[in-house]
């Protein structure tokens, strides 16, 4: 039983980070109906930014997100303006391929600059842990979960209470109607993509003390991001939050009971089951 709770808790902790990845992807999809296959690469860029801020300026990875977030927001906004904006009306397949291409460029450009060597960001607390009721909790994971919670809360406030947030949600609900109501849909798309990439990069920054950092790390997270958003219902922010935690738990308990090599299979099987039997997502309303 102790093992179960141990894996459950660590699943929830890592699930918080997954939620950030999923929310970013779901906002982009909601506003633009574009599935961003470069999402994991944005996360990878976040990891590298954090790594270099730590290595060069000795900034703590959890502090450096105040630099990474605006930087990656800007980067995402520029990507949207130059590339994504031009394919909004293209076939979904072409949209997917364009983002795949952008992802390839990002990961290979990083490889070109820093080689494919694994980098490790070591902090004083990287491997420390706290034991609570017989369950050991990794310190970096706990800090990252706390930061995730704060960011998610701030994001909900932004989406629910601010004018821009409401405009984004309106655009996601019905692009045409939003345009007719005088919402600057183009600007919302830029903001949404910036927000999505900033969230992905934040997730990357938060896991960088506990993960290997290398140029191809992104694709695994891209796949995870899809699983999370499909699970929660494409376009649903609440769904992505819950989906992230669910995937975190499924992964860590699956890893415990089927062996760590099979935890990805558990996630993908879950994904296929949801796609087949509840395509609107576990928490999504069915949209016809």
């Amino acid at each position: 039983m102790e093992i179960f709770f141990q894996s459950l808790i660590s699943g929830i902790l890592i699930g918080g980070v997954y939620a950030l990845i999923g929310i970013g992807l779901t906002i982009i999809f909601g506003v633009m109906r574009v599935i961003n296959f470069a999402h994991g690469e944005l996360l990878m860029l976040g990891m590298y930014a954090t790594y270099f801020l730590h290595a060069v300026f000795h900034i703590d990875p959890f502090v450096s997100i105040v630099i990474t977030i605006p930087l990656m927001f800007l980067y995402g906004a520029i990507l949207q303006k130059i590339f994504i904006n031009r394919i909004l009306d293209a076939l979904p397949q072409n949209q997917i391929l364009l983002t795949i291409g952008l992802g390839l460029i990002m990961s290979n450009a990083v490889m070109l600059a820093f080689t494919s060597d694994y980098k490790i960001l070591t902090t004083t607390y990287s491997s420390s842990s706290v034991t609570l009721f017989g369950i050991s909790l990794s310190t970096p994971l706990m800090i990252s979960f706390a930061i995730t919670a704060v960011i998610t809360a701030a994001l909900y406030w932004f989406l629910l209470k601010t004018d821009t947030g409401q405009a984004i949600r309106a655009t996601a609900q019905d692009r045409e109607a939003a345009r007719l109501m005088g919402i600057n849909v183009k600007r919302m798309s830029i903001i949404a993509f910036g927000l999505g990439s900033a969230l992905a990069a934040t997730a990357g920054a938060l896991i960088s003390p506990t993960y290997y950092i290398f140029p191809q790390v992104g694709s695994a997270f891209t796949l995870k991001a899809f699983v999370i958003t499909v699970l929660g219902g494409m376009g649903s922010v609440v769904g992505a939050t819950l989906g992230g935690v669910l995937i975190g738990v499924a992964e860590s308990t699956g890893g415990v009971y089927f062996g760590s090599g099979w935890k990805e299979v558990v996630v993908f099987v879950l994904f296929l089951l949801v796609l087949l039997f509840k395509p609107a997502g576990l928490f999504g309303k069915s949209r016809t």
């Binding site: 599935i35 590339f83 031009r86 394919i87 293209a90 076939l91 979904p92 397949q93 072409n94 997917i96 391929l97 364009l98 795949i100 291409g101 952008l102 992802g103 390839l104 460029i105 990002m106 990961s107 290979n108 450009a109 490889m111 070109l112 600059a113 080689t115 494919s116 694709s219 796949l223 899809f226 699983v227 499909v230 062996g259 090599g261 099979w262 990805e264 299979v265 993908f268 099987v269 994904f271 296929l272 796609l275 087949l276 395509p279």
Partner: protein, 362 residues
């Protein structure tokens, strides 16, 4: 439109027409390809040609499902890997000669295709793409974990291919690249022939009807799931042939090189850049991409830049390029895909066709 109808242009058959010339040139090139090994002894060129043939087979097989039937599978590595692993495991552990093994590999790919088809074809559009990736990833992770059968992450290395003897006569002992060259060429011609047959048959019309409008096709009585599965079956069998040939030719496979997401993406990219839904598209894509990425991988471009004198060999730039550029040969794929999607979404073949059509009208 109206004017064109009132004054009909006299139809003068141009002979020899452009189409005829192009076909004649194609036949000549194919005929010449059969004699290349007689004159070319450079193993590097043969190596490149074999890789091009393999990529033509991969791209053309995907094209039947993705290009003609409109089902964008990004999980074709599953079939490539099914062929590669079946052939290699049979050869290495059961001493089954690869020329029997490939057919078992094709059967294995067919089984995989039936599994994947029954799951994924219930979904459409982006959901189909995601599901195809997920299923292929399940196969990759399973191969990685079933160490007793597949040798896991260490992969399979073949030590020896038995000599091919027909009627007491030694055909080849596989020591040179020439037999692989001919097998690759035959496979490539075979899939191009099959594509041509499919395109001009009732089957092909069904496929294209599904691509253009699934609901309309369905209402005309075309069984969507059945015909999608037929397209997938053809596609999977030939992809597995490419996988088997690659595996035996290189002599080593592991889960990431034959089952990775990169393989699936590469297959799609060949078609996208060349032009999907055309017979020549995948050929153009492969002929363009393989030498380009090989040139980057083997530092040929860096050497060229140094030789021409744009970059000094001992300068920081020269050393940087030498060390890094070979690692990033996939970068060119990414750039080409982005440029293709933005500026010529119908690929090179589609782009050229439009240009010639415009010229013909002018």
């Amino acid at each position: 439109m109206m004017e064109a109808q009132t004054i009909p242009k006299p139809i003068i058959p141009r002979f020899p027409s452009l189409k005829f010339i192009l076909r004649a040139v194609a036949v000549l090139i194919v005929a010449a390809l059969f004699f290349v090994p007689n004159y070319v002894e450079d193993t590097y060129i043969l190596h490149m040609m074999i890789l091009i043939f393999i990529n033509v087979v991969m791209g053309s097989s995907w094209n039947i499902l993705g290009g003609y039937t409109g089902q964008y599978s990004v999980g074709h590595a599953a079939y490539f890997g099914a062929g590669a692993y079946t052939t290699m495991l049979l050869l290495q552990y059961k001493q089954v000669a690869p020329w029997y093994g490939v057919w078992v590999g094709a059967a294995a790919a067919l089984v995989v295709a039936v599994i994947i088809g029954s799951i994924c074809f219930r979904l459409r559009g982006p959901y189909f793409v995601l599901a195809s990736i997920a299923v292929a990833e399940i196969f990759r992770v399973a191969t990685l974990n079933l160490k007793d059968i597949t040798n896991g992450a260490e992969g399979v290395l073949i030590t020896e291919i038995p000599p091919l003897v027909i009627g007491g006569r030694l055909i080849t002992d596989w020591a040179s690249k020439v037999p692989f060259y001919y097998i690759g060429l035959v496979f490539a011609l075979l899939i191009i022939g099959v594509t041509w047959l499919v395109r001009n048959s009732k089957l092909g019309y069904y496929f294209q009807a599904i691509r253009e409008d699934q609901d309309a096709a369905h209402s005309l009585g075309i069984g969507l799931t059945f015909y999608k599965n037929v397209a997938l079956a053809i596609s999977a069998i030939f992809t597995s042939l490419a996988g088997s040939l690659y595996a035996v030719y290189v002599g080593f496979i592991d889960p990431s090189t034959v089952l990775g997401l990169d393989v699936s993406v590469q297959i799609v990219i060949i078609c996208i850049i060349g032009g999907i839904g055309t017979i020549t598209g995948p050929v153009v894509g492969a002929v363009l991409l393989v030498p380009l990425s090989e040139a980057l991988r083997s530092n040929m471009i860096t050497d060229l830049l140094i030789k021409v004198g744009i970059v000094g060999e001992e300068t920081r730039m020269g050393l940087f390029l030498k060390e890094h550029l070979s690692q990033a040969h996939v970068l060119i794929y990414g750039i080409l895909v982005v440029v293709t999607i933005l500026y010529m979404p119908a690929g090179i073949v589609g782009f050229v066709r439009r240009m010639t059509a415009r010229k013909a009208r002018a």
